[in-house]
Amino acid sequence: GIQVEQSPPDLILQEGANSTLRCNFSDSVNNLQWFHQNPWGQLINLFYIPSGTKQNGRLSATTVATERYSLLYISSSQTTDSGVYFCAVTSRNSGNTPLVFGKGTRLSVIA
């Protein structure tokens, strides 16, 4: 099945810094989502972005489907941005199975 790799696995930032999280995937996709998992374990939808670029406040995401990667940008980070960021995809070629998740990037923003 499709493989999803996220980098870096861990990231520590000073409040106010910018960061880029990367998601590589091994096959063509028809769905790609970015999630933020808060300390209570809930998954918050950030972007549904199988291709192109989207922005929402301090966050933006770009997916280059032909090159099989997606980037999540966080600008002017805040302590509330801390948590785990997951990328998840559905494969176009593997029987259209539900979302396959990467291992996540654990972000800690320090005041």
Partner: protein, 116 residues
């Protein structure tokens, strides 16, 4: 905004007990899923459904079972809980066409299960 609900949020139960984790959504989504997640780790798909009377096993072997009798309801049952079942269970749903394309998924708040 997504409306998908899981109960209970937290459950501590003894070994050997039968438990059912509830998941309901009010969005009329055809597709529903259950994922299992150990603390700080990735999510693994354990069950999914394309619609009423449809259930499929996911990638992670699980001793749980599911049913889909109504569109809005997708409960997960453990016939005999064991300490190895201790984990977080996350339910999700998505709409899409009547085929098997999965569109944007929305997650419930999760159930943290501890089996002692």
């Amino acid at each position: 905004e997504a409306d998908i609900y899981q109960t209970p949020r937290y459950l501590v139960i003894g070994t050997g007990k039968k438990i059912t984790l509830e998941c309901s959504q009010t969005m009329g989504h055809d597709k529903m899923y259950w994922y299992q997640q150990d603390p700080g780790m990735e999510l693994h798909l354990i069950h999914y459904s394309y619609g009423v009377n449809s259930t499929e096993k996911g990638d992670l072997s699980s001793e749980s079972t599911v049913s889909r009798i109504r569109t809005e309801h997708f409960p997960l049952t453990l016939e005999s809980a064991r300490p190895s079942h201790t984990s977080q269970y996350l339910c999700a749903s998505s709409e899409g066409d009547r085929g098997r394309i999965f569109s944007e998924a929305f997650f419930g708040q999760g159930t943290r299960l501890t089996v002692v």
